[in-house]
């Protein structure tokens, strides 16, 4: 009898359990109807994106990135800190440094004497932005640019920091920003690559740039950056060899292409179609490149605008002028690198030269795009990979000092492309060390640039080795405050 009762209890519980469980499962099932793709994985996420078509209507169509390689000192250019002059020679307070790791170059230094800027600053434009006397031309376009003083990054050495800014990761096997844009937006002019690179070098202490910075990573190789160099052969291996005329070349390409077609039909490797496209583009580039690279027809007032160095191939001014021409011809992303901003020592002398190299031409580019009615659809970015310390590396003398790498704050500017003109965004503390207002991480910067080009950084993904990669990795938010 007791057994029966026990059995009854069990039955009751079992029934209760089953009925409750079915109710619970039923509710879950009902709910799951409202979450699309819950059980199907995220399979259709990749299909969502059609390469070459932006997610939403873009504000900017093209980007020109005037990269100042080596990390220009924000404290001598944009971030005015009179406090550093007052406290010159005094020790950097430990509370300000806050345990920030230092590079091997100053980690063993006995003291960290604060160094004020050797150059004076003045306020310009409607926004009363502070600009150093090293930038007389930039100070005239203050009302067209948005200065971001609160950039920060994660790396403390050039290569990782540069790679981080260019690819969103420090290690360097990811697609470059330009490649992502080429992938996301496609080409505007099929005669030219969507992503081009121009190099120049100033007199200051230089740091290398490597082709990995404009690599397509795991994206299709058509999105790779193409380096244009100065001199007779702007693009390597594009001229016909001696004795080959254009008809022969055409015939050869046609035959190679039909062979490649056969190979494609057999193996189905998409890289083969890429190859065919690239051969064809190279053929068209044989006529389009010389025309774009020819600056001899530029009128005198343009040469005065950019400065006469724009006619000296390989200078920053010349590259800036070429950048305008390439951009005007529909190149989505023109990446410039100007080397020589790594002022560990002898900063006053070197930065003066460096600033002179880039000031006039950078300002000229903004002015020139504006007078062509192109500035609103072209985003111009000026900046380096990190900032420089507020204390002196090496001996601080009355008129000479150096500055080490500083990832916690640096300044860049942007112009056009739907970015608010004439504003200064973000603030650093009075020591110019930490960001105290509106910090902008490198991922945020990337997200913002993509956003202006009509791309949602969270949806611009590429599946590779089982993972969906983004330019902004797993972070980044659009800085809407600087967008018009």
């Amino acid at each position: 009898m007791g057994n029966d009762l026990f059995e009854y209890g069990l039955n009751f519980n079992r029934r209760r359990f089953l009925s409750k469980a079915s109710l619970g499962l039923g509710s879950l099932a009902l709910g799951s109807l409202l979450v699309p793709g819950l059980f199907g994985g995220n399979k259709n996420q990749d299909d969502n994106f059609v390469p070459g078509i932006p997610h939403f209507a873009p504000k900017a169509k093209r980007v020109i990135y005037l990269f100042q390689n080596g990390a220009p000192s924000q404290l001598e250019l944009f971030d005015y800190k009179p406090k550093l002059r007052e406290m010159v020679g005094q020790e950097l307070p430990a509370s300000i440094r806050g345990g920030q790791r230092l590079t091997g170059m100053t980690a063993n230094q006995d003291s960290f004497p604060l160094a004020g800027s050797f150059v004076d600053f003045k306020q310009y434009g409607e926004s009363r932005a502070w600009i150093s006397d090293l930038f007389p031309y930039t100070s005239k376009i203050v009302d067209d640019i948005c200065i971001v003083k609160s950039m920060y990054t994660e790396a403390i050495n050039h290569d990782p920091a540069l790679t981080f800014l260019q690819t969103g990761a420090q290690q360097g096997n990811r697609p470059s920003m330009g490649s992502w844009l080429s992938y996301g937006l496609g080409s505007e002019n099929k005669d030219l690559p969507a992503f081009t690179v121009l190099l120049s070098r100033g007199i200051g202490n230089g740091q290398g740039v490597y082709t990995k910075l404009w690599s397509n990573g795991f994206l299709d190789s058509i999105h790779q950056g193409v380096q244009f160099s100065s001199g007779e052969n702007p693009v390597l291996f594009i001229k016909d060899p001696k004795g080959m005329d254009r008809d022969t070349r055409r015939k050869m390409l046609d035959n190679v292409s039909s062979l490649n077609q056969l190979a494609y039909q057999e193996f189905g490797d998409p890289e083969i179609t890429t190859k065919i496209q690239q051969y064809e583009m190279a053929y068209r580039m044989q006529t389009s490149v010389p025309e774009v690279m020819d600056v001899s027809k530029e009128p005198d007032d343009i040469i005065k605008l950019y400065g006469p160095d724009c006619l000296v191939p390989g200078t920053f001014a010349a590259n800036t002028l070429l950048a305008r021409k390439l951009s005007e011809n529909g190149v989505r992303f023109v990446q410039l690198y100007h080397q020589g901003w790594d002022q560990h020592g002898d900063l006053p002398y070197e930065i003066t030269k460096q600033a002179k190299d880039v000031d006039q031409a950078s300002a000229a580019l903004v002015t020139d795009l504006k007078q062509r009615g192109l500035l609103d659809e072209t985003l111009v970015i000026w900046g380096g990979e990190f900032g420089r310390t507020n204390y002196s590396q090496g001996t601080l003398t009355k008129d000479n000092y150096g500055r080490d790498h500083h990832p916690r704050s640096f300044s860049i500017w942007m112009a056009g492309g739907g970015v608010k003109p004439g504003i200064v965004y973000g603030e650093t503390d009075e020591f110019g060390y930490n960001v105290i207002k509106d910090p902008v991480h490198v991922h945020d910067f990337h997200a913002t640039v993509l956003y202006q080009l009509g791309l949602d950084h969270e949806r611009l993904v590429f599946k590779h080795l089982g993972r969906r990669y983004r330019l902004t990795d797993v972070d980044g938010k659009v800085v809407k405050d600087i967008l018009a």
Binding site: S19, K20, L23, G24, G26, S27, L28, L30, G31, S32, L34, V35, P36, L38, V50, G52, I53, P54, H55, F56, A57, P58, E126, G186, S187, E188, N189, K190, D191, I203, N205, G206, E280, R284, T287, S288, D300, D301, I303, K304, L305, G307, P308, D309, L311, V312, E328, N329, G330, G345, T367, K370, Q371, R372, G373, L374, D376, E377, G422, G454
Partner: protein, 723 residues
Amino acid sequence: MKEHLRSYAGNFLFALNIFIIFLLLFESKLEIPVWLHPFGRMHLLLLHFPIVLLLISMILEIFGTRISFNKQPFYEEFTSIVLLVGVISAGITVIMGLFLSRQGDYGRNVLSWHKWFGVSIFFLGSVMYTIRSSDKYKTVMVKVGGSITIVCLLLTGHFGAALTHGDGFIWNSVMDDRAEVVPIEHALVFDHLIKPILDSKCTGCHNPDKLKGKLVLTDSASIHKGGKSGKLFVSGNPEISLLMNRIHVEPESKKHMPPSGNTQLTPDEKELLRLWIKANTQFNQTIVSLPPTDSLRLLATAYLNTSETLEDPFEFSSADEETVKSLNTNYRVVSPLAKNSPALSVSVYNKETYTSQTLNELMDVKNQIVSLELSKMPVTDNDLQNVAKFENLRRLNLNFTNITGDGLATLASLKHLTRLSLSGTKVNYPDLKQTLVDFENLNTISLWKTEVTADEINQLQTEYKNIQFLVGLKDDGSNPIKLNTPKLKHKSVVFDDSIQLQLFHPVKGVEIRFTTDGGEPDSTASIFNGTTILKESTTIKARAHKSGWLSSDAVTLHVYRSYYKPDSIMLLSKLNRVHPANGAQTFFDHQLGTFNANSPAWANNWAGFLKNDMELLLEYKTPKEISSIAMNTLIETETSIFPPATIEIWGGPSIDKIQLITRMNPEYPKDYRKPFIELIECKVPKRKVSYLKIIARPLRKLPSWHKNKNNPALLLVDEVLIN
């Protein structure tokens, strides 16, 4: 209530719990189908039931702990049922609310408070219903649980009301009776921008009744008058105006306004006040009377139109995908503006392939094109008749095309056109004056490099206030730029016998004056014409001139003569690891190095010796008469690159019979100095040699003033010249 009905209801409550937990977990991924939207919206209808039912049941529950009530079976039964029905209705309301929250754009903060309080009510109620029949249900629990639930109910209701009616709905009508919306066309700078700021942040104290600081900010006359500390502003000069001073003085200061603790001015408001003072503190100015690029106007427009929609909604349908695809050629790109957008953007490149057909072919998508890029194409006025058919066009780039004012008139039918780029075209002032009036929506036009003069632009600007005219720079010669320095054009500046001087300047039409005797290249120096022949190592000073430009700086250039190239070169000592250059050939390859050679990237062409001597043996098949041996060295004190301590020249008719010809000790820097390149020359009495041995000993120990004192110095040589 019948027992089985009650158990059904209990089970339903359980299911609701699971369902809601699920919804909350997957909230961010929920997509509510359209047919469920009405169900969500009924949240507003149903929500009143749980409020009342739960309120009643909680009160009954709390009073139910009294013994007198406790014993009444009806009371017990009634409370239990009211609670059950209340909790169930709360559950359904929560689900509806969750659905509704996914539909609209509600303020995140308030919404999340509302949601979590609402959800807690439901869970609290469920827990109370479930455990109320067990004997663990204590009086304290009832009272605490009931009270919390009631508080939650009130808060949820409050936040819910804030969501639907906005914050401060209850008091708004009493507090603020001026919330009128003024269209931007009629808005006055003072009445609709400045006054509302003052009213919301200042007049609480500065009004005729309160008169703090004897200042009244309620009408223009009093604002002009100022207060105890004087006039509020100096029109046109915000920097020295008292008002700005009070706003910007540090917040701790007593003078800071609004006083700390009160609502502060936002950055936009501060900026508006500043710009208003800067624009001479007008009281009757309309916003649209300001020029379109004026900062005050831009900020004011943004301030008044905070809810302005960003995306331009297109009213036309999308074109056939295949058609779009077929229109893409190598020289014409037709692509959707964005995913799911019917709009197309078209760019055309390559002058050679452009014909009027290029545009004519686009007729199939004429309604969809919103952006057209034709810069530098040979577009004629006739072609514009095709362009005029693209009725939804927003942006048109015709820079450097062949169009004239006649073509412009055809474009006036484009009612949506907002941006027009005409830089480098033949349009002129009469054309623009006549036709611009027809462009209804145009807001930006670029006219750089056209025949329109600055005065004419000003006239157009006064006539068309809503259009921004981009004119760019005109070189009027008032800001001359300095020319860059001339350069040598030679492939190599090292030559063997003689060299024709080739000076080069990138700017066309410059005149280069130069000297070869070390004198300054002033107006008496000779003009470069390409006929100068140099036979010795020479220092050239040159300067470029052109009218309309400032003359360049004088530049110092060198050419080096190296007459006797040895037939064989043997390097007898080891090169520094970082500076291998081109081995022994380096010294006679006519390639010179550059600065910064301490970095491996720029070490090219410099042969380096660090801990051992440089020993170079040269062989001539026929004896040569030599008189000078020179080596080009880099000196960079900062990085320990120094000139050699000693140079020895050995020579003779055969390898066994060489003897010391001369020895010299070059001077080395006495302090840190900027890097420089120096040619160190040893003159020797003329003699014939077949073998020549050059030994250069780097400094073994850096001088005592150097930071690396006692360490060896580095010697860098890029070329050896033998004459």
